[in-house]
């Protein structure tokens, strides 16, 4: 029995029904109830000074050599520094091809539905918001960092969207950063497609540092061909509401995906990561590691599903999520799921949740380290395991600095 519900203001604005708590994957994140305003899709006047200020405040400012900047969902050519776009300013970088698309929706048949034939609500939402985005095509070994940055400026509540496509050709390698940073009250919808060719290598770092009032809704759809390697790290610390979906599909053998992340949440922040790793072929390896720190009334959720298809023998899939709760009222929920149809696989999952170990704390204090500093050191050590997956030294150092600042301001 289903009850027809009156569309909410947000649903009317988006022209779709939003996922709600009676849907299994959304039980902890009732989007229908949480988005309590219309959030129209409107163009916002952009104040250049705000953009400059927010850009400069990014924890990753100045690290990437090339940037594609979007402000309130629109491409910002002035602040972007991509060789193919600005050939007169920077000599074209061999191996990076870039194109900007105004309305990216029509090309994305891969996103049209999952195996159950149901469109992912976050992709549907993104489509309804007519996203802009870039296609980055890496065709050789690119060592410079490329950043896709979205900036939201303070304005009336609205919804903005981005859809990016990253292709790493066979044998090529690249490192990309996706940064989300902003001010004000908005819905940010982002879809990122990752396509890794044979033997391709992609390091992807995402920083979610949206405004404290924002709603960040994102979806990653990745496919890995034979021998491809994906190494991802997401730091989630902004937004009032965060929902990050990811689907990673192995389509060629001997590929390897390392998906890691850290939460640094306080106040009433809510972050829900929902990942599906789909082993469709044999001999692939997946590793998921999430280290989540929650203070005050913050709530963190990690839902991870590993599917091993019937023919995907010799799959090696491991998943773990660990939470450190710094207050009595913080909360963490983990839902690990293994769906295994092959019979010769190594798969496992683990989830832990706890507060700071008093023995650790006493040991540090007995050496003269004051309590607050000892706690910070232990929290930094806790999330550090996930940060260690970031291979680029500059990016990792900047993220560690960010985490240390977060701990100090706590």
């Amino acid at each position: 029995m289903s009850i027809a519900l009156q569309p909410t203001a947000a649903e009317q604005a988006f022209g779709m029904s939003l996922p709600h708590r009676r849907m299994e994957e959304w039980r902890w994140t009732d989007l229908r109830a949480r988005l309590d305003k219309p959030y129209p899709s409107i163009d916002t006047a952009v104040d250049e000074k705000s953009v400059a200020r927010i850009m400069a405040a990014s924890p990753l400012a100045g690290i990437a050599k090339y940037r594609a900047v979007f402000v309130n969902g629109k491409f910002d050519a002035t602040n972007s520094t991509i060789p193919a776009l600005l050939p007169s300013v920077i000599p074209a970088q061999a191996g990076i091809h870039l194109s900007i698309k105004e309305n990216r929706v029509q090309s994305d048949s891969r996103l049209r539905g999952n195996d159950d034939g149901v469109d992912d609500p976050l992709v549907v939402l993104n489509t309804s918001l007519k996203p802009e985005g870039v296609t980055l095509h890496f065709s050789s070994n690119i060592t410079v960092l490329v950043e896709i940055m979205h900036i939201a400026t303070n304005a009336a509540p609205r919804a903005v969207a981005l859809r990016n496509h990253i292709e790493v050709a066979a044998g090529a390698s690249a490192t990309i950063i996706e940064t989300f940073i902003g001010e004000g009250d908005y819905v940010l919808s982002s879809v990122t497609e990752l396509e890794l060719g044979e033997g391709a290598r992609l390091d992807r770092i995402k920083l979610e540092w949206e405004s404290a009032k924002a709603n960040h809704l994102s979806q990653v759809v990745a496919t890995l061909a034979k021998d491809a390697r994906l190494n991802e790290f997401t730091l989630t610390s902004g937004a009032a509401l965060n929902r990050q979906n990811g689907t990673y599909t192995f389509v060629g053998q001997n590929a390897d995906a390392k998906i890691s992340g850290a939460y640094l949440l306080n106040g009433k922040q809510h972050a829900d990561t929902c990942l599906v790793v789909d082993h469709k072929v044999p001999h692939c390896t997946s590793r998921e590691l999430f280290k989540c720190v929650m203070d005050d009334h913050a709530r963190g959720i990690f839902q991870g599903k590993v599917i091993v298809r019937k023919h995907a023998q010799k799959t090696d899939g491991k998943q773990s999520s660990h939470a450190l709760l710094l207050s009595e009222t913080a909360e963490f929920d983990a839902k690990p799921e293994l769906e295994i149809y092959a019979d010769d696989v190594v798969c496992g999952h683990g989830a832990t949740s706890g507060d700071i170990n008093p023995d650790h704390l006493f040991y540090l204090r007995s050496r003269g380290i004051p309590e607050a500093e000892a706690k910070s050191l232990l929290i930094a050590a806790f999330v550090g395991e996930a940060f260690d997956n970031v291979e680029n030294d500059d990016v990792r150092a900047a993220l560690v600095n960010f985490a240390e600042d977060w701990l100090r301001q706590k």
């Binding site: 003269g368 380290i369 806790f382």
Partner: protein
Amino acid sequence: MLKIENLHVKLEDENREILKGLSLSVKPGEVHAIMGPNGSGKSTLSYVLAGRDGYEVTEGEAMFNGEDLLAMDPNTRAAKGVFLAFQYPIEIPGVATMQFLKVALNAQRKARGEKELSIPEFMRFVKDRAAKLNISQDMLKRPVNVGFSGGEKKRAEVLQMAVLEPSLCILDETDSGLDIDALKVVADGVNALRSPVRAMIVITHYQRLLDYIVPDFVHVLSAGKIVKSGGKELAHELEKNGYADYAEKVA
């Protein structure tokens, strides 16, 4: 330096008294051994002096250089010069040993109003001391005590002591889990720290350690009290006759 007077301590969780009127006076330069059977209160004494939670002092006092030691935070005690070498050193994943030493030393120096050491100064300072304890650079890079063998853990404790230069070292069962070679390295490290301005309390069940770290005084702890004190020869007497004599006395 340390004056413990009629100290009574019970566990916070259970209504059980562990120390029942312990008194001990330690002067700079002295090495005191505290020996006793299991359950006599040896570890409780070391934890209470270091400031671990979970113990309640119901009577008596412990003064350190004229100040009420028991009223201080564990970190304040450390900055004032108290160091406990743990029987079971704690593993701290994710914190490199070198970083830990630097943060601890600088926190203590800051608390004492001293200038923090620069990184090169600090590195020289630690490398020199680590070499003497046969501690490799690799070990210093590893997380504190994680994956260390029993001997490595105890050496790391002595290294911390050598770096932090406390005025009162409390060694809790430092010999436990060590073979004779490892014991010698640790004892050499401890002996190198003996000084007229530094006192040590060596807590042990066995006399063996005291062959290497020769004490000035030996105290027998039984059922929460010091029941006999003497010179180093007392340790040999205990080794021969066991603790049975003393257990009977308090019973």
